[in-house]
């Protein structure tokens, strides 16, 4: 496509950067006698004024004061602009991982800084990385993990991620040590421990980068989960290993390592890992519990989520446990309960903020990597670099194929060789490796530069070459695809299958992980949810899915479907958790009806995880089309000039289940109830208005009438029998209350909608007592429900 990348071409950020650099040079030149500029920010600024007299200057340039934040901000902006450009091009995101882009930007920034001989701000040191840059990245990974597939494959994932990291680290370390023994390469001063440390840091893969590429190819779920799980746990394990080995290095600078130390190291590894997870779970529960009480100040809900996660990280780090695993476990635990407790806006805020933070962190790390690339402190050693690369690939292949060979024995559906090839090939290194290499203490690692160089080479190679070619490879190998549809049927069937399996296993007397899951679910429902969830309505996943789909549709319709949108502001799904956790069946049915009639398929849902982006709104186009069609039909019906809302116009279409109950017999159709759908159809149009109603009850009469007219007409479209009188929002609700089946209806999401519809004494509300009686009479005759389209 001819779309350029405006971000990269736009001159402004470059200009700013150059000005900044010039400015800093100017001040640093002035300050040479007074020492490093960064240290003396305000003082230097004042002192660097006109060196002549002590006059008040009208215009001064003080760059040092803002240097660090200024440059950091510029970097982030630059990367963001580049990303915008990247995504504007339609095909690029599917071709290469976004890390490629970030590295390029980083290298460019590095080139500029190098070229202008500028002292780059001290963004990266050990504390900053481990305390500030790393936690958001890990938190985001943990939070967006799809729980159920993860837990289904957890055995394989733990086996693969845990052992894989260990095998890789030790394998690479040992092989390199052997290479270093060869005198010809000039590496004999690199001892075993150093090699092991290097092995541990170079084995930290960041395959999430390729997940976006995977999504294009829509690979099957277990494969996706393996990559995801590996990404999640690999960071934690590498860091733990790294820290342990560094501790070894520090401790045994002079002596040799004794076996007891090695054992202690192993034990520590396990304790650190398990302890971290334990911490994370505790913090997760505590924060879930606290969000139970935040109804009234929902603005601090995101704060609680973030602070508790961060606290779990810090607390674990205090005890030298694995903070990464802690924060991951915290996010995973907390997510389920928090999502139910917090308000919709908080939920959105949390998601976006998390993405933003992790994006910023990663950008900074990559840019720093680019800056380091273009620099003077490299040590190039052909042998070391070459063998590192070779061993990385080799050991990954070894670990993949052997570990999966073993775990395939225990899986009912083993990973095919193709899958394993893909897993092997997705070993892309990323920011993690670089950070760990950069933070090697120079005192213990005199040849640190060589390590950094080797790491950079590996990262560049894997990200660019493997990252770009993995997409075509997946397509070429024709890996088994997934085909998940987010549909009610599927959810139902899956649920049924779960229960069926559990039941059959009970009959067989077997004990398998399905039963574990069942037991956990029961425990969860009985105890945990009561404590942790706000109003403890146990919900099933079917209902949650339903509700989610409904809300999504409602939001879309509100955003795009309101014909008088200009008059109303965009409504928000303000408080769905405030006692309205129940279904509004008509809404959903209306949604379904809409879908059916307009021949839209529910969008496919692959386990979609994009590290850099939240789910793109694929349904916008759909919503727009719905809007256009509605407008057309509206125009048509207006032309026909129906004024009587009760009768069913000849041309209107609707779907009905003839065995639905209805409160009063419909004249034109015999023998059955009218659809909930007609009900629903009108309800969906009312839905959007109802939402406005909720938020702006004091509405001008004229607007209300307009609404009424429009909704009346719209409901005519669907052949609905809404009475226009039903549209009076607050005042006349009471008069219509008595009318029909309000008694046992579930409290819908929007009260006015409910009342209105009922005032219209719609047909179709299935199971309410008055209706039920009639249904009992009518329903028996046609035993089969007929789906009729009139």
């Amino acid at each position: 496509m001819g779309i350029q990348a405006p971000g990269l071409l736009s001159p402004w950020p470059w200009l700013l950067l150059l000005v900044a650099l010039r400015g800093s040079e100017a001040t640093s030149a002035l300050n040479k006698p007074t020492g490093p500029p960064a240290q003396q920010a305000p003082g230097a600024g004042l002192a660097s004024g006109p060196a002549l007299g002590e006059r008040i200057t009208v215009f001064e340039l003080d760059y040092d004061y803002v240097q660090v934040p200024y440059e950091v901000t510029l970097w982030i902006l630059l990367a963001s602009l580049a990303k915008i450009g990247f995504h504007l091009h339609h095909r690029l995101p599917g071709l290469m991982p976004e890390s490629c882009l970030l590295i390029i930007v980083g290298a460019l920034v590095g080139a500029i800084i190098f070229g202008t001989d500028h002292k780059s701000p001290p963004v990266m040191d050990s504390n900053i990385y481990f305390l500030y840059l790393l936690p958001p990245i890990v938190l985001e990974g943990g939070y967006f993990m799809p729980t159920r597939p993860f837990l289904e494959n957890i055995g394989s994932i733990l086996w693969w991620a845990g052992l894989g990291a260990l095998v890789n680290a030790l394998g690479i370390g040992l092989s390199l040590y052997l290479i270093c023994q060869i005198k010809a390469f000039g590496l004999s001063d690199v001892n075993l421990l150093q090699n092991l440390v290097f092995g541990s840091l170079i084995s930290a893969v960041d395959p999430v980068a390729v997940l976006a590429v995977f999504e294009e190819a829509r690979v099957n779920e277990p494969l996706y989960m393996m990559i995801f799980g590996e990404a999640l746990l690999n960071d934690g394990i590498s860091v733990v290993l790294y820290n342990i080995l560094i501790a070894f290095t520090k401790m045994h600078k002079f002596e040799s390592i004794e076996p007891v130390d090695v054992l202690a190291g192993c034990a520590r590894f396990i304790i650190v890992g398990v302890g971290g997870v334990f911490f994370g779970i505790i913090f997760g529960f505590v924060s879930a519990f606290i969000t139970r009480f935040t109804q009234n100040i929902s603005a601090i809900e995101p704060l609680i989520v973030f602070m508790f996660s961060y606290l779990s990280y810090l607390s674990a780090e205090t005890l030298y446990l694995s903070g990464i695993l802690a924060i991951t476990a915290c996010a995973v635990t907390m997510k389920k309960y928090v999502e139910e407790n917090v308000s919709q806006t908080s939920y959105t805020t949390i998601k976006y903020f998390m993405k933003m933070l992790s994006s910023v962190s990663e950008t900074l790390i990559f840019i720093f990597m680019g800056v380091s690339t273009v620099g003077k402190n490299h040590e190039w050693n052909w042998a070391f670099v070459g063998f590192t690369l070779a061993f990385c690939l080799l050991w990954r292949a070894i670990s993949v194929f052997t570990l999966f060979y073993v775990s395939n024995r225990f899986r009912t559906f083993p990973f095919s060789a193709k899958d394993q090839c893909i897993i092997f090939y997705s070993g892309v290194r990323g920011a993690g490796s670089f950070s760990l290499a950069f933070l090697l203490p120079l005192s213990l690692f005199p040849r640190k530069n060589m390590f950094v160089t080797a790491t950079l080479v590996v990262i560049y190679f894997t990200v660019f070459i493997q990252g770009i070619t993995i997409g075509p490879l997946v397509r070429y190998l024709d890996v088994k695809k997934t085909n998940k549809k987010e549909s009610i049927n599927e959810e139902l069937h899956i649920r049924l299958m779960d229960h069926l399996k559990a039941g059959i296993e009970d009959v067989c007397g077997q004990w398998s992980h399905y039963q574990v899951r069942d037991k956990f679910k029961k425990f969860d429902h009985k105890y945990l949810r009561k404590i942790l969830i706000r109003e403890n309505l146990p919900r099933s996943s079917i209902v949650s899915l339903y509700k989610k789909l409904e809300m999504k549709q409602a939001l879309e319709m509100a955003e795009t479907g309101a014909l008088s949108a200009s008059a109303f502001s965009r409504p928000h799904q303000a408080q769905p958790s405030q006692g309205t956790k129940r279904l509004s069946p008509e809404d959903v049915a209306s949604m379904r009806d809409l879908l059916t009639r307009n021949m839209y398929q529910v969008r496919q849902r692959t386990p979609s995880y994009n590290k850099y982006n939240l789910q793109p709104q694929t349904t916008e186009k759909q919503a727009k089309e719905i809007l256009i069609r509605r407008q057309n039909t509206l125009r048509e019906s207006m032309r026909k000039g129906h004024s009587l809302p009760w009768g069913t116009p000849a041309g209107a279409k609707n779907i009905r289940y003839l065995s639905f109950p209805y409160s009063r017999p419909r004249p034109a159709r015999g023998g059955g109830a009218a659809a909930a759908l007609e009900d629903a159809d009108s309800s969906d149009s009312e839905l959007s208005f109802a939402m406005f109603h909720e938020h702006s009850p004091a509405r001008s009469l004229q607007e209300r009438q307009r609404i009424q007219q429009i909704t009346t007409v719209k409901s005519l479209n669907r052949g609905g029998k809404l009475s226009s009188s039903g549209y009076q929002i607050s005042p006349s609700q009471e008069e219509h209350v008595g009318r029909s089946r309000k008694a046992l209806r579930p409290k819908p999401l929007f009260h006015p909608v409910d009342e209105e519809r009922e005032s219209g004494e719609e047909s179709g509300e299935e199971a309410s007592p008055p209706g039920a009686g009639q249904w009992a009479e009518h329903g028996r005759e046609p035993r089969r429900p007929l789906l009729r389209r009139k």
Partner: protein, 214 residues
């Protein structure tokens, strides 16, 4: 089934018929005897001996499936009163994992069989179609574990699902077209892309593992 001398022949026969290994058959036989109280046949009441099954929301359907003549391949409809070990195995055979080394046709056949089992679970009146009422029944049972979800919600979910099924199976419908229910072919269509093989299987584990789990 208890006669010692013919056991091995019977076992072999069963191995041939059902595809289980002889170890698994022994195992299941033990379980069968446990359930039936050492009698040669099992009735519905015997399933009450399985305590965990009580908590299963679709318990009745599962138990019913064991006695369903269609699953037992004994007839087009109706329920048997009691089943013997061979019938027990027949039902269990539906849950064997599909052997990926089989050829495509076989795989399709197995898949169809499993789906047919599921279909029979939904279609309780054996008329070959899943009607709205039956669907509702299923959904209600599935959601019956949650006391806070009312019947209407369950029903509307069923209705929504039915509509979705209609759209998948029949697409855009003409006016006056009547959709009677989900037939088996429609059912297959719904399941088209979804890998039932990966979901509908039970690992009939080896002996050692079983011992551990008890």
């Amino acid at each position: 089934m208890g006669a010692a001398q013919s056991t091995s022949e019977e076992v072999r026969e069963l191995v041939g018929k059902t595809g289980f290994s002889s170890d698994q058959i022994e195992q299941l036989h033990r379980r069968f005897k446990q359930l039936s109280g050492d009698q040669p046949t099992i009735r519905k009441e015997h399933f009450n001996n399985v305590p965990d099954l009580e908590l299963n929301p679709i318990r009745s359907k599962i138990v019913r499936a064991f006695f369903d003549n269609r699953n037992l391949r004994k007839g087009p409809s109706g329920l048997a009163d009691e089943i013997n070990f061979e019938d027990f195995l027949t039902i269990m055979a539906y849950f064997q994992p599909i052997d990926v080394t089989m050829d495509e046709e076989q795989v399709q056949l197995c898949r169809k069989e499993k789906l047919r089992f599921l279909f029979h679970m939904y279609d309780s009146d054996s008329d070959g179609r899943i009607t709205l009422e039956e669907y509702r029944n299923v959904v209600e049972e599935l959601l019956s574990g949650n006391p806070h979800i009312e019947k209407e919600s369950a029903r509307s979910i069923a209705d929504g699902a039915m509509m979705e099924a209609a759209s998948v199976c029949v697409g855009q419908m003409e006016p006056d077209q009547v959709y009677e229910g989900i037939t088996f072919d429609d059912f297959l269509k719904i399941w088209q892309g979804i890998d039932i093989e990966t979901k509908m299987h039970i690992r009939f584990l080896n002996m050692e593992t079983m011992a551990l789990c008890h």
